[in-house]
Symmetry: C2
Subunit: 339 residues, 2 copies
DNA sequence: GTACGGAACCAAATCGATTTGGACAAGACT
DNA sequence: AGTCTTGTCCAAATCGATTTGGTTCCGTAC
């Protein structure tokens, strides 16, 4: 169909300029020694021919593509046709892309490359960014095995010996949420967590149980898959409130669960925040637009993404660009669902 | 530094299996004829060596990388450190990435590749997706020139002769918004538009002016750069309401302008929606969380992205995958800012 | 006058695959 | 017996750059 109007190559430029391809290459890379006059001539010939180096060919030799891969783990488990409710990851991805561009890299969104259906191009990336790896994450296994640089946001909970991860201090944030509820008078706090075995769920649950133990409380934990969304939240609410000694506050790690719990609790005739207070662990459309709006943790994915990209690129380029200041844990946004 | 533990190549596999590289290649690509026994042997040797084809090398010959580039035009003008308020594009990008993966492609987010600072890898992509190209868009110029397949969402308003674009029917939606305001009793509708010269701003303004003409109304148009955000909206509100004959409804093409107009109008002592009705042209965090929440057009970027990716991939693969059903224009979400 | 050194340049190897154009053997057909 | 297929397989060219290991020329030092 299309007129194979192939782009000019380095050889075309060399021929027109009356030099060797080596010289053309040196002219652009600045590596060898090229006389100024020659350099000028090559430059102008290249420009007049409309020459652009072929990134793929260059990458074959130099082994650097200029692309970072971003793996959004929870997207692999969420219903892929419904990106609603995954605010966090979209905000993260957008910010990471902008940060990568600032450093001359492209950002590629890929699904798990250890699965065969994933785009083959994923494996050609120079470095990987992984959000919330799961326990014994096969991707981390593979990257460690092949020596591909990577950085994970949140740690593979089961893996001891790697240091390429960003600590978002889930335990600290969990403590803050619980303290906020305590300060507002809650005495029986329950937790609704997801099933993905990542440091987010596991860390929060562990911190919660530790806290409950110090307070001499029973741990009230309802677990529902992330994919169940609001329905899962409603379901969890029933489990928690059917008990003889129902909670007076619920901390839901995902925004959609929080919205479901809120709706169900009100259907059961309870007042929020009067009878029950609710906090969401990940701020999203669902927590903001609920009635009343749900107090929740804004994980500040934009900031997290910039930090992650900067660190990864520093490692790749062996450079030392300044990392954006600010802590990596979230910020509690107080809304109508707590007192 | 790192132990150059180079991955096994096709030659290693060939040697271990006692065949030629041609045969190994054929085994995986399924192109030539390879005896079943040989194929099995090659497969098992490859697996035991941990062989994976090198995407870059493959791409050098085949000229296909398996990556789509996504250019979010308005991101080039927006303050890049503030992805807030660009809901639309993040939702679009996320959905496009998932759709691309479904078809075996990666999605790379890139900035304008006609500018030199952009990642070089951008140019290696198989096809481009461009949201809201601007007038005389240099990127489209370049892609047409080099024969790179692309699809734009919204048309380059100044270019007649290309057909690779998705019509989001800005004119239709503008008409619906105006009719909605009319139905609610508005008689003097103003328009607040942005400065990016894309089909979104230009199409809406043209449709608005045409509508005003048929109603015998003065066209009341305030233009403010997209980058000005809420402040620009406040400013536009002053311009519109300082006139002797102020509007009783304002249609703002961007969510942030709408939020600014709303805030300023109320500061001026007017009631919304009593004295003034407001509609936003692009639903976002700002329109949803305003007080009162602002009626606006949900452009349904998730759907748009899926359609765009499907069409582009069909073109690249010369395939005929079904395009997700549903129209491409937005959906009016009525909230408290209109009656 | 010879040896040495640096500046400027180049031919060929290389990266890891795909693809072209056969080679060779075994069986089928005249 | 000779020719044709057909099924398998391979050597070498190719993609477009980078990099290695030179060569050539000229000026300077001894």
């Amino acid at each position: 169909m299309t007129e194979k109007r192939s782009r000019p190559t380095i050889a075309d430029v060399a021929r027109h300029a009356g030099v060797s391809t080596t010289t053309v290459s040196h002219t652009f890379s600045g590596k060898g020694v090229v006389a100024t006059a020659t350099r000028e001539r090559v430059r102008s010939v290249a420009k007049s021919l409309g020459y652009r180096p072929d990134v793929v060919a260059r990458s074959l030799r130099s082994n650097r593509l200029g692309v970072l891969a971003l793996v959004l783990r929870p997207l692999d488990t969420l219903d892929s046709s419904l990106p609603e409710g995954v605010d966090y990851f979209l905000r993260f991805a957008g910010s990471a892309a902008l940060a990568a561009m600032d450093f001359g890299y492209g950002l590629m969104l890929v699904s798990d490359p250890t699965r065969d259906e994933s785009p083959a191009a994923a494996l050609a990336c120079d470095g990987f960014l992984i959000t919330e790896p799961v326990t014994h994450d096969p991707l981390i296994e593979m990257l460690l095995g092949e020596g591909v640089p990577f950085l994970s946001v949140g740690k593979d909970p089961a893996r001891a010996a790697y240091d390429a991860w960003l600590d978002t201090d889930t335990e600290l944030m969990t403590g803050r949420v619980l303290r906020h509820l305590e300060d507002a008078g809650a005495t029986r706090v329950a937790l609704v967590a997801g099933t993905d075995p990542n440091s987010w769920n596991l860390g929060a649950e562990a911190a919660y149980r530790a806290w409950a133990a110090t307070r001499g409380q029973d741990a009230r934990v309802a677990i529902r898959p992330e994919t169940t969304g609001e329905a899962g939240g409603r379901d969890a609410a029933d489990e928690l409130f059917d008990r003889s000694d129902p909670p007076d506050a619920v901390y839901c790690l995902t925004g959609r669960h929080a919205a479901g719990v809120l709706a169900r609790v009100r259907e059961r005739g309870l007042d929020v925040p009067g009878d029950v207070q609710i906090v969401g662990g990940s701020d999203s459309e669902h927590t903001r637009s609920a009635v009343p709006p749900i107090t929740s943790v804004d994980l500040q994915p934009e900031h997290l993404a910039r930090v992650a990209v900067t660190l990864l690129v520093n490692r790749l380029d062996n450079s030392d660009r300044p990392v954006p200041p600010g802590h990596l844990h979230g910020r509690l946004v107080v809304r109508g669902s707590t007192r």
